[in-house]
Every structure is written in C-alpha cells, then in structure tokens.
C-alpha cells in the first residue's frame, strides 16, 4: 500500500468558538487555529492560565480542544473536517470552579501557581 497522497480538495471552514475559520484541506485543527491567529487552545485546570500548541507532534497534550463535543482532542494531530465545531479555552478535567491541587507543606518559597 503506497502512502496516501496529500489532500487535493479545496478549502472549507470550521467553526471555532462560534466564528468561521478557514481551513486548507489536510490541515490539522492546530494549523487552522494558528493560521487564523488563534494562539490559545485551552486553559489549565487549576490556575486557569492559557495554553497553546507547544510540541506540535502529539506529545505534550497542551493543545487540547473540544471538537464536536469530544473533549481533550489534541489539535495538533486531528485533521480538520468540514463543518467541525471547535471550542477553545476550556479547562479539561475540571468544572471551572473545582480546581484543587498542590501538596502543601507551605513555605515562603512555595509557588503561587497551584492554589
């Protein structure tokens, strides 16, 4: 079986947080987001800070988005499909206000990020 050929169809659009975003056939969700100037993919569970594509090859799980209702989709691996509905800025793994974490021997140099 020879390797598949690159996509040849023309572009299409997907919906990202309610807005239409153009996609070139064969692009991943991450590529489409970046091409549209959208750097942030998700927020973190505990601190709620923004994250975006980091490793670009499926290793780091920072590029998680919700795609067609499916949570924790790695945007850098998922090829975009016409009509996809993508939500960014979600906090995977928690409801917005249930963040907990950190072990907790308090101390002057314990970081702030985990509370």
């Amino acid at each position: 079986m020879p390797p598949p050929e690159p996509g040849t169809a023309d572009g299409f659009t997907i919906t990202v947080d309610g807005a239409a975003v153009p996609v070139r056939a064969g692009q991943t969700l991450a590529a489409a987001l970046l091409a549209a100037g959208r750097r942030s993919t998700r927020r973190t569970r505990f601190a709620g800070s923004s994250r975006g594509v980091f490793c670009g090859i499926g290793i780091c799980f920072d590029c998680l988005v919700v795609c067609n209702g499916e949570p924790n989709v790695r945007a850098c691996l998922r090829p975009a499909a016409a009509g996809d509905t993508v939500e960014t800025g979600q906090r995977p793994g928690t409801t917005a206000d249930s963040g907990r974490g950190g072990a907790g021997v308090g101390g002057p140099d314990a970081g702030e990020g985990v509370r």
Binding site: P2, P4, P6, A30, L34, I59, F61, G111
Partner: protein
C-alpha cells in the same frame, strides 16, 4: 475486537516471515526496506498521517512543497512507499506492548529481562489504536524506531501560548504550511536550531535571532570527529550561510531566560550565561510573536522499557537510551531498536541504524545467514561508527549543564500538565523529605499528567536530585505499560494476544 480486524490479521499468514516496525521515520523506513529486500513481510506502524517521521515529514496540505530531502534518507520514502512487501498502518498509535504467547491469562515480564514463555521466542504483541478503533499486531520480531521529541528546559513563561518547541514550529511549517508567528526567536542549544531558523525564514517568517547557550568555539576541540565527517562540516557551513542570507543574528553563550506577554505578542529576555548556564546580565529583550525553543532531544524509550529492554544513560548527552549491540539488538530476544531511542545522532545515523536493525531482523527471521548478515552489515557498520563519534562530539559541545535551574522562579511551572511549580516541588521535597521519583510523583503529581512526564520528567529529576542530594534514575519516568493514553473502550475491547 474491532470490526475489520480479522481481515487485517489475515494479512499476516501464520508462519510467514513477519516483521513489525514501530515508527516510519528514517530509522523505521530503513529497517523496513532492508528487511523487505530479504523477503520479509513488513508492517510499519506510525502515529503520523503520512510516513516520514519528523525529519522526512511530508506535507498533508495541498500546495505545501515537500522538502527536497537530501541523500539516502529521502530515497527511503520512495523505496518503502513502493515496496510490495511493506504495509503502512499510518495514523495508528502503539499504546502498549507485551511479549506474545498462547495462554491469554499468562503474564509477562514488564520490568526486567526475561526468557520466552509459552509463545514463539521473543514474539511481541503490539496494541494499536487507530481511526477504526483498537487492534493488535503480533510478530515474531519487532524493530522499535520511535524517534524522539524536543527537550525543553523550563523557564519563566515557557508555558505561555506562543512559546513552542523548535521541532513543533518546524513540523507546522513543513507539514502544514503554517507559521507559528510572523516574527519569531529561536533559542536553546544545538545545530537543529539553525535548521529550524533557516526553514522558518525560507517559509516567510522574520527570524529575530538564534540564541545559542553554548559558546560554540568549543567545536574546534573535536577536530578528529569533524574531520571524519566532511559532509557534516559542509552541512554546518550551509546552515550558517542560510543564516547570513536571511540576516539572522546568532547570539552565542546566551539564553532566553524569561518570556512574558506583551500586548498581543510576547517579549523574550535574553541573558548571557556562563559555562554552567548560570544566568548573567540581560543582553537584550526581543518583542516577537513566538519563541521556538529546543535543548536537544529526548529519545522515546517507553515501548522498549515496557517490553523489558535494558536501558542506560548515554554518556554523551545524559539521555536515557535503550542498550543495544552494534546491530540494534536489545536485551530482549526479538526486540530490535534503532534511531534516537538508542542515542540521539541525527537522520543519517538513524538510517544506518535502521538498516542494520532491518538486516538483524531478517537474520532472526531466518532470511539471512550469518555470512549474509556480515557482508551486508560491514560497510554500514563503519559509516555508523563514524557518525556516532561525530554525534558524541556534538553532544559535548551542546551539553545541558544544570545552571538553567537558576532561571526558575518559585512560581515557574515545571510540570505543565499538573501545574506543579518549582517552588512547590522544592518545598515538598524538603518539607516531606522526598528522595525518589516515585514518591515525588505521588505526592506532588509531577509527571502524572497526560504527557506522562515526557515534557517535564528530566527537569523534575534534575531538581529533585539537587534538592534531595540523591541521584535519580531517569528510567522511573519512562516505566509505564500504557505508553500513550488510549480510550478505555479500546482497552476493554482489546482481546488477549492471538
């Protein structure tokens, strides 16, 4: 078992000389071609949509020009793609591997060397997850060529959107035709930074500079290694010429020690660093859209570790690598390993190692006799040895000393998945008296997130060693039976090995 699985399994008639190759990068493709040429039926599994791996990445987007791959590595794509005995399973992730056998209730050594039990000696079952669901692939011999990924040391701001790995930026440009930013800074250490900077510039990015933490004049200390590799010298010269052509400055013995948000973009702080990378004065701050960082590579050893292959620390760059003989044979019979997982050495070396492992696999399958193996391997062995010397010299120049730990602030995130900060980690290590990786993971959750410690593991081990005064075995971050997260439905459906 998923629908369609029986067809797939019948691809492999029982008794046929079968080889499974994990990874379709230069090493995996070379192994597949070498073994297929001797008559083996080869299945190549890769997570990517198209074969090639990181180095030979092929675009999936129409109109994006593939790299004009130089030399032997480039030919492999054509040879492997057209070979009648090579089957590709693209878009498939191997999430677990066990020695195969006939008794489904039998258990398998997962953490130490073992002799065969039950099934054909050294046979392996790979558990796959692909677009059509779960599947298993059993073969009497496997070549693991899973490559590696960028190593990044933490620094304040490394978790901001817009800070990406050098390899990630390259993958997006090469495979997707997308730039991570219009104006970018490339930082870290190693010759790969030059490749990425030149690539991004040719793709239309404005590269503000390359920040290289090593002083670089140290190259001159390894004239023998360089002399043995005139090709490498020419390659380096080409990269430097590309930088000059694009007017990209190279700042040596400096590092990006902090990135902050600045309006819609980012601002990177560049500092001078000493030989141990302790931070000195600020040399410049650079406004950019994106910062691409790379501090060498982390070999992917998880599959081999899950199969019980012995590992060692590569003295050249301190990475955890699989112990293999010169033909890529690991401590587990029937499991061969090639490419970055046996030591980071670049695409050229990976091709040679892949070829050697493919030949050794054919030998184990009975397709080559001792003499045939010796004849075919000899010239490749010589070339591989030269390239390994060169790689070792390169690692010495671009080694990563521990001074980066002084770039951290208490609120700097070390474990990105679980948001464990440097301050929290150090406070818990001293407050609770933690002195090993297992306890550190359980108590602080460092390395317990979705990336399974791939991104932060080595940095966390380094911080733990400093705070506890005890050396830490890196293998504790690589030991896991589920090598990549996989839906529970797939775990449930997966039948016992057939």
């Amino acid at each position: 078992m998923s629908s369609g699985a029986p067809d797939r399994r019948s691809e492999h008639r029982r008794g046929a000389a079968r080889l499974a190759v994990v990874g379709a990068g230069p090493a995996g493709l070379a192994a597949a071609v070498a073994a297929a040429e001797t008559g083996a039926e080869v299945t190549v599994v890769d997570l990517g949509q198209r074969p090639g791996g990181q180095y030979l990445r092929q675009p999936t987007v129409a109109g994006v020009r593939p790299d004009p791959h130089p030399g032997r590595a480039g030919d492999l794509l054509r040879q492997a793609g057209g070979h009648p005995r090579i089957t590709f399973r693209s878009g498939h992730q191997v999430w677990s591997a066990e020695p195969a056998g006939d008794d489904p209730s039998e258990t398998w050594p997962s953490s130490r060397r073992h002799s065969s039990s039950g099934g054909p000696a050294g046979a392996v079952t790979l558990r796959l997850f692909g677009p059509a669901g779960p599947d298993t692939l059993t073969a009497p011999v496997v070549v693991l060529a899973p490559g590696g990924y960028d190593r990044v040391v933490p620094f304040p701001g490394w978790d901001l959107p817009g800070v990406v790995t050098a390899g990630g930026a390259q993958a997006l440009a090469k495979g997707q035709g997308v730039l991570v930013g219009r104006r970018v800074l490339v930082a870290g250490t190693g010759p790969f930074l030059l490749v990425v900077a030149a690539g991004l510039a040719s793709a239309g990015a404005q590269v503000a500079g390359v920040v290289e933490a090593a002083p670089l004049h140290r190259w001159s200390r390894h004239p023998l290694a360089v002399a043995g590799q005139p090709g490498k010298l020419a390659e380096a010269a080409r990269h430097f010429a590309a930088l000059r052509r694009h007017r990209i400055p190279l700042w040596r013995a400096q590092a990006v020690t902090e990135v902050v948000e600045d309006g819609a973009g980012l601002r990177a702080t560049v500092r001078r660093v000493d030989a141990d990378w302790r931070p000195g004065e600020v040399t410049r701050t650079v406004p950019v859209d994106a910062v691409c960082v790379g501090y060498g590579f982390t070999p992917s050893v998880e599959l081999a570790v899950a199969l019980g292959c012995a590992t060692r620390i590569d003295p050249a760059d301190g990475s955890l690598v699989v112990t293999v003989d010169e033909l890529g044979r690991s401590s587990v019979p029937g499991v061969l390993v090639a490419g970055e997982a046996t030591g980071v050495g670049g695409a050229g070396l990976a091709v040679d190692e892949g070829r050697l492992a493919g030949l050794a696999a054919a030998h184990r399958l009975g397709l080559l006799d001792d003499a045939g193996l010796g004849r075919a391997a000899a010239p490749v062995l010589r070339r591989a040895a030269r390239q390994r010397r060169f790689a070792a010299a390169m690692h010495r120049v671009h080694r990563v000393p521990d001074g980066w730990t002084e770039w951290l602030r208490p609120d700097t995130v070390v474990c990105r998945c679980e948001e464990v900060t440097a301050g929290r980690l150090r406070a818990d290590v001293t407050g609770y008296g933690l002195d090993d990786i297992r306890a550190l993971k359980l108590v602080t959750r460092v390395g317990m997130g979705l990336c399974q410690g791939r991104v932060c593991g080595r940095a966390a081990a380094c911080l733990l060693a400093a705070a506890s005064g005890r050396d830490q075995p890196l293998e504790d971050f690589a030991k896991r039976q589920i090598v990549m997260p996989v839906p529970l439905g797939a775990v449930a459906e997966e039948g016992p090995p057939q």
